[in-house]
């Protein structure tokens, strides 16, 4: 239906502007453009995605060069100068133990980005593996794996994370494991549906007819063709994972003091909201900006990698 609608429009454009259509054929269409290059071109044109990329790069650099930007350490207490408002000595003020908030926010970028990275990688690896097994082998294997996904998705995600942390005990590492687990079914379902649609493709049958082994078909044909949605989900998942880690930290179920984790910083400054509201602004704003950055890139990637969006 949609394809039919599109064709006359393109034809009309060519009639309306024959010169332009001709020149396009001469230059662009003959030169072979790989789909990846094409997507990259689409992505570059997306200003929102660019803003997202700048935000994320900013926080990555902030995390890396944190020791160079400040003369304080994130756990150094200075009880004389507690709850100081922002000044030239303490750009963002100090917290209830006299620690420099800017230093803690900068080091916090390390913690949050690392949590996001490891949680997404864990979910990605196990989710993709389970998704491929379920989708490729079908039948009872698919039945069992899909039901497990259904059950995990039947819990609101943060609640499941809380349950897992309640079992394992509160620590940053356990929060990371919990976040990885709750994201496994999201990747798993995505990959499974992609594999199922690919499995019946002619080139897969051809590969099988040639006597190719399952492992080789999966690795060389199925996986490369399902990579686009996985990339998008990983980017968006990065933001969600950081948000979830901060939420667990805020509830006291994630990073423990004195780790400079943004959610945990908010929790420990909460009681000083009247006395020193500046202690709450920067950690929260940082969480929001990082998540926003990943969401912008994720949305941009989705548009760039989705062939339906191209025109």
């Amino acid at each position: 239906m949609k394809l039919d609608e599109k064709k006359p429009v393109e034809a009309e454009q060519q009639i309306a502007n024959p010169a332009k259509a001709d020149s396009q054929i001469d230059t662009e269409e003959i030169e072979a453009i790989s789909p990846w290059k094409d997507s990259l071109k689409q992505l570059r044109k997306n200003r929102f995605a660019l803003v997202g990329l700048i935000i994320i790069l900013f926080f990555i650099i902030l995390g890396i060069v944190a020791p160079l930007l400040t003369s304080y350490t994130y756990e150094e207490q200075d009880l004389v100068n507690r709850l100081q408002p922002p000044s030239s000595e303490h750009w963002m003020g100090t917290d209830d133990l006299g620690r420099d908030i800017f230093t803690r926010v900068a080091y916090g970028a390390r913690v949050s980005l690392q949590v996001g990275f490891f949680a997404v990688t864990g979910a990605l690896v196990f989710g993709t593996l389970l998704g491929i097994i379920a989708g490729y082998f079908g039948r009872w294997v698919d039945m069992i794996i899909s039901r497990i996904f259904d059950i995990l998705l039947a819990f609101p995600s943060i609640l499941l994370a809380i349950a897992i942390v309640a079992i394992l005990g509160a620590s940053l590492q356990n929060a990371l494991i919990a976040i990885a687990i709750i994201n496994i079914p999201i990747f798993g379902r995505l990959v499974r549906s992609k594999v199922i649609s690919l499995r019946e493709e002619e080139y897969i049958m051809a590969a099988r007819a040639q006597g190719m082994k399952n492992g080789r078909i999966i690795l060389h044909h199925i996986l490369p063709n399902s990579i686009a949605p996985i990339i998008v989900q990983s980017t968006l998942g990065f933001g969600t994972a950081i948000l979830e880690a901060a939420a667990l930290g805020f509830l006291g179920l994630g990073a423990q003091p004195p780790t400079p984790e943004w959610g945990q910083m908010l929790a420990s400054s909460r009681e000083f909201i009247q006395l020193a509201p500046w202690t709450l602004i920067m950690p929260g704003l940082s969480i929001m900006l990082v998540v926003l950055g990943f969401n912008l890139i994720g949305d941009g990637l989705r548009d760039a990698l989705d062939p339906k969006m191209k025109n």
Binding site: I151, L159, A163, A247, L285, M288, L292
Partner: protein, 333 residues
Amino acid sequence: MFSYIIRRLLMLIPVLVGMTLITFSIVHLIPGNPAQVILGETATQTAIEDLEESMGLNEPYVVQYGLYVKDLLQGDLGTSLRSKADISTEIWPYIAATFELTFFAMIFAIFIGVNAGIISAWKQNSWFDFLAMLFALIGVSMPVFWLALMEQWIFAQELGWFPAYGREDSRDPIAPITYFYVLDSLIHLDFARTVTVLKHLVLPSIALGTIPMAIIARMTRSSMLEVMKSDYIRTVRAKGSGQFLVIYKHALKNATIPVLTVIGLQTGVLLGGAILTETIFSWPGIGRYVFEAINYRDYPVIQSGILVIAFIFVLINLVVDVLYKIIDPRINY
């Protein structure tokens, strides 16, 4: 239709069994002896043995799980270790508090979200569209707990417009009937109290409703844009209907389906987000009930609280799926 509902209910069975397996294992997956963990390190040997006896921890796992499910089917959610009360009777006021909060959060999210989405689609690429979508992007990325803290700071502390904590004026508690305080105050014909209760609802509802609002706005916009291009909208236009009628009567109806899915999914997100919102606003809901139980190692409450929330979530998704079918009979499963 009827056979569809039956099929959908049958599909629930494995999910429900899986859910009970997970909540059942919470106690058994704790490293070490559960009774020891629950009672703390200073517990005497007899106290541990008593607790093991009362929780049935000495039986084989299969027998324990069987007893657990049998109790659940009889509506017995266990006994709280902290308050020594029956969880199934104790839990209702907390559920009601969470329902009231999520209800108002959802009203806020749907009203603002749907309308912002419609206007954005209607005036595509205008400054309103741009601003609304920018706000929606920020809203999607918002840490609920931070938004809640900022609200408390600005609207409760600095401006003093709304109360920062609780469901009601704690010096003058309501005589609860249904535990939905808005409803209760109306039953008592105590309208001054209704206003107080509503005022307490404002900040937490906005905090909780912001993410769903942003997602609903984006979803409404994109599905409206798609519908507005369709043939039947062109036909309605050709009949000479006014823009308002075209949008709110014809287009919105057809754009509802994706929006409805999002609303269904977001209700689950709200139930999860309620834990954070309730902690900050001292809202005595089920999220805070579970969270406090974690601090007190009250494992029966943790188990049952999580099970109840997940059960509600599953029910909401069931209702959404059925509504789907009613709104759009073209959908076939």
